[in-house]
């Protein structure tokens, strides 16, 4: 059951092969027996899930079966869930229970999903290895000594280890695509504004985007068709038509103009990863796509710009966690200042505090122009580079992460090395473009991902290329031995 795609599961549920209750029980059994190896969950919702599955079966019997009826999924613990705690991977929100559902949660509920639990993540989505979580490291199912990537590490592992059919994630600088790459699954970060941010705990508001982690592009198309759409509660969500993503998967790739970003194959890319990605590109060429080289001259500035803008926004976004109204509060504060200082010092982890400090500095009087304004200028230049590139190509293809999964602890003391994990993904967030990572091969038994970057609101092309590629390859169908 657990190896089936969402489409297959829906057919089996509809055909009476098994019930949603049986399916949910099966996944819960797997989680209980396997997740102790991975630690991919922060909160498991066994009772709620079984009850929801029971109701789902009853509704299906009455002929009510919305699009994802009975499909067991996992939410990254950054999405607020009414009545269920939302920790965001932090001690700060250890006991926080939101009185509302995120729009993403609400839409998926309406589509009939069964929520198995909430997945582990880097604290406040700040990290590329899931090592900054207050709830412990998450282990990569392809090698338990290695990281799953981050920040949506728990969601990536839960999908890769077949502990759920699909998962939600968020991507601010690569937090869906990089763990998808490191775990051998399909991760989609849609256009900024395609999916509502309402109820999603903010890290860097102008970069944060919800998306999905799935086994396949086809599953991603199903998830996106439910999650996408304008939301009046999010002023930055886009009021654009949502295409019928699954219907567009079958158009062929022939004649599609693929651009290779020259800069993506220069510095910092592991040679074996480059070879995998080149093979993937050759596969697309076989399908009739034409390949040309493009240049994104300013992309080398993406990481420095990101590490000004994201910390700046986070320094304000995380000010609300002050120990006054909710969340962690230190014991026996002796003054207001003491309350602030100790609640925040004790409630936040090191990486979060580091980024708050960097952001606070970058916005300070006298530094604003040198850092924040300059970073915004770079952001515009990067956007322009992409716009010019999309004048001549339909999609950009390249690596997702510079190397396969690294060992837990290997980079946790070296911030620069850690930040370089996102060297190929960050530019899309700065530009607001949609992008996906799909499995393209293995290096020493570790999965490698290929990144597909589309034009604004053109998730359909990304999904179509990914799907056509997955019809020809089986990288996405491989199951790690630890999850067999």
């Amino acid at each position: 059951m657990h190896t089936k795609s969402i489409t297959e599961l829906l057919a089996a549920l509809q055909g009476g092969e098994f019930s949603a209750h049986e399916l949910t029980s099966h996944f819960l059994d797997r989680i209980r027996s396997l997740d102790p190896h991975y630690n991919s969950f922060i909160t498991l919702l066994e009772e709620d899930a079984l009850q929801a599955a029971f109701r789902s079966d009853q509704r299906r019997a009455k002929g009510e079966a919305p699009l994802l009826s009975g499909i067991p999924i996992v939410h990254k613990d950054i999405f607020c869930t009414q009545g269920i705690r939302t920790t965001c991977g932090s001690r700060m929100l250890h006991d926080f229970i939101a009185p509302y559902d995120a729009t993403v949660v609400e839409k998926l509920n309406q589509a009939g999903v069964i929520v198995l639990g909430k997945s582990n993540m880097d604290e406040f989505a700040m990290g590329s290895s899931n090592e900054t979580s207050h709830y412990g490291n998450v282990h990569n199912p392809w090698d338990l000594e290695r990281v799953p990537g981050g920040s949506s590490g728990g969601s990536a592992v839960a999908v890769a280890a077949r502990l759920c059919a699909a998962a939600t994630g968020t991507d601010t600088g690569g937090s869906i695509r990089q763990p998808a790459s490191l775990c051998g699954i399909t991760g989609l970060k849609p256009t900024y504004g395609r999916i509502s941010r309402w109820g999603m705990v903010a890290y860097a508001s102008s970069l944060d985007q919800a998306g999905s982690l799935t086994r396949s592009a086809e599953d991603a198309a199903l998830m996106l068709s439910v999650m996408a759409g304008h939301d009046p509660r999010d002023s930055t969500s886009i009021a654009a038509h949502v295409p019928h993503y699954t219907a567009e998967l079958d158009s062929e790739v022939k004649g599609l103009r693929i651009g290779l970003c020259r800069e993506y194959f220069e510095d910092g890319l592991d040679a074996s990863v480059a070879a995998c990605v080149q093979e993937g590109i050759a596969e697309l060429e076989k399908l009739g796509a034409t390949i040309s080289e493009v240049s994104l001259a300013n992309i080398k500035h993406a990481i420095p710009a990101y590490y000004v803008i994201a910390p700046a926004e986070c320094s304000a976004n995380l000010s609300r966690f002050d120990g006054v109204r909710y969340g962690y509060r230190c014991d026996d504060p002796d003054s207001l200042e003491d309350l602030y200082k100790r609640s925040r010092s004790e409630g936040f982890g090191r990486e979060v505090k580091r980024r708050i400090m960097v952001g606070t500095f970058a916005l300070s009087a006298g530094y604003y122009d040198a850092y924040y304004r300059k970073a915004q200028q770079i952001r515009r230049l990067i956007k322009n580079d992409f716009s010019s590139a999309f004048d001549s190509v339909d999609i950009l293809v390249g690596p997702t992460a510079p190397a396969p999964a690294f060992k837990i602890g290997e980079k946790s003391e070296d911030q620069i090395a850690m930040y370089l994990q996102d060297i190929f993904t960050i530019a899309c967030n700065l530009a607001g473009l949609p992008a996906a990572s799909i499995p393209v091969g293995f290096v020493d038994g570790l999965p490698v991902g290929m990144q597909l970057i589309g034009n604004y609101l053109d998730e359909a092309t990304i999904l179509r290329v990914a799907h056509q590629f997955q019809l020809q390859t089986d990288w996405h169908g491989r199951v790690p031995a630890t999850a067999a």
Partner: protein, 477 residues
């Protein structure tokens, strides 16, 4: 040395909208603490602001009301500081691209001359909650009902030279925002709060002295006292050879003095940056024109029209135009009775007196404009005297009906025909021969005695003018 004060005001005007600037929660005053604070106002994780379109209508109306330039593309920014009544740890405001730019207002000075005060800008922002320090046994309570209430912060140029000018300016802004329905203007509920920037310099000097900012003054009286105190204090400091510190101060009405705020209540660096949760708000000329076309007549224009159209004195016109509902009341009543001067007197004296006694606003008057107009009409057509009209006014106030109903029910019509008054006068003349002698001997003053007697005999209903004529005629016979 002769000193000159230089004063600029930052006035925070609460906009009169049903819901908050970035959430759907109610802005109603006086609710149970924290009963009108939704997840957005509480700054819970994951919530997002959505701009209430109504605040732009009001801000643009204000901008047009002071002849300002409208910011067709205005941008919200975050102003960062920690305080328990600021739930997000930042206030959403407008720094670089405000909705209103420039503009000016004219104020009347006590000597009767006018002075123009420049407005630098006006921007939209959210109000903070309230910290409550009493009743919590050494702890502080937080009420977030006010958090997110829309504010328009109106920043003046440093154009004022005395506390009186500052108060006149503040009063005009108050009058204007009420006229435009931008605010309810309830000062006691914090609908308008002033920060006063005050500095002094030797008269004739053109450069500015070091200024202090006295924050959150919420009445005109306190504003005047705070500024005067601050001017005197700064003069003392400078004359003692010290320097004025650029301080943020609070005015304490009980002690009638300003004192520096605790440093925790101020921040040196707000680390402003554009609010990423909100897109720039772009409005077009058609939107501005539609608001312009709905602007009401503004205070200065109304005063001019009242003097020209009704022949009122400038003083009367200014009093009647002070509030739009009062002006509307006056005009409606005047139209019914056809005598603006009579109406102006009645509104100013009888009506206002009664409202003040009962501490009511014009909109709460128990006598409507129509009712007053109908009453005054009966004075005009001599059905009743002005004196009787006061009794009728009281009866209307008490809900006994319209003027005509009360006059009929109580038989208060003036006795206006000679046939009815004649015999009464004859009788009084017959009963008072001594006074008749006196009158005929040339003592004109005795006439008043006879008129008084007649009025008494008719319970005041006789037409005094007619009585005068008849008595005079009969005495001469």
């Amino acid at each position: 040395m002769e000193w000159e004060a230089v004063i600029g005001l930052e006035i925070h005007v609460q906009l009169d909208t049903r819901s908050k600037i970035f959430s759907g929660a109610s802005t109603k005053f006086g609710a149970e603490p924290n009963s009108q604070a939704c997840p957005v106002d509480l700054g819970l994780p994951g919530v997002l602001p959505v701009v209430n379109a109504e605040v732009f209508k009001k801000a643009v109306a204000f901008g047009l009301g002071i002849g300002a330039e409208i910011g067709y593309r205005s941008v919200f920014d975050r102003k960062n500081y920690f305080y328990p009544d600021l739930p997000k740890g930042y206030q959403i405001t407008q720094l670089q691209f405000p909705i209103v730019l420039g503009g000016q207002v004219e104020i009347a000075l006590p000597d009767g001359t006018a002075k123009t005060i420049g407005v630098t800008r006006a921007h939209l922002e959210e109000d903070a909650g309230k910290s409550v320090h009493e009743d919590f046994h050494g702890m502080s309570g937080i009420d977030l009902n006010r958090a997110g209430t829309p504010l328009l912060e109106v920043v003046s140029e440093p154009d004022m030279r005395s506390a009186e000018e500052a108060v006149a300016y503040a009063k005009y802004i108050h009058q204007l925002v009420c006229y435009l329905d931008v605010s309810d203007g309830e000062m006691s509920q914090g609908s308008m709060r002033c920060d006063a920037n005050v500095s002094i310099r030797p008269k004739g000097q053109t450069t500015l002295g070091t200024r202090t900012e006295t924050k959150n003054v919420n009445s005109f009286r306190f504003l005047q006292r705070a500024i005067n105190f601050e001017i005197a204090r700064q003069i003392d400091v400078l004359e003692a050879g010290d320097s004025v510190l650029q301080d943020t101060l609070l005015y304490d009405p009980a002690l009638d003095q300003t004192r520096p705020m605790r440093s925790k209540e101020t921040a040196t660096d707000y680390r402003y940056f554009p609010e990423p949760d909100l897109l720039p708000v772009v409005i077009d000329a058609a939107y501005v024109e539609s608001i312009r076309s709905q602007l009401p007549e503004l205070p200065h224009a109304k005063v001019s029209r009242f003097t020209a159209q009704y022949g009122l004195s400038k003083v009367d016109a200014t009093i009647l135009a002070a509030e739009r509902p009062l002006a509307d009341y006056f005009e409606q009543a005047a139209e019914i009775c056809g005598d603006a001067t009579l109406t102006a007197n009645w509104v100013r004296v009888e009506l206002t007196g009664q409202l003040n006694r009962e501490n009511l606003a014009i909109t709460e008057s128990a006598v409507s404009a129509v009712q007053l107009g109908q009453l005054l009409l009966r004075i005009k057509d001599e059905t009743i005297s002005g004196k009787i009209a006061k009794d009728v006014f009281d009866a209307i106030w008490q809900g006994q009906g319209s003027a005509d109903e009360i006059i009929a029910a109580k038989g208060l019509q003036q006795i206006t025909n000679t046939v009815a008054i004649g015999p009464i006068v004859d009788e009084i003349i017959a009963n008072n021969p001594k006074q008749v002698e006196q009158f005929r001997a040339g003592r004109e003053k005795v006439l008043g005695f006879f008129i008084g007697q007649v009025m008494q005999a008719t319970e005041g209903k006789a037409n005094p003018k007619q009585v005068n004529e008849i008595v005079r005629e009969k005495l001469k016979q």
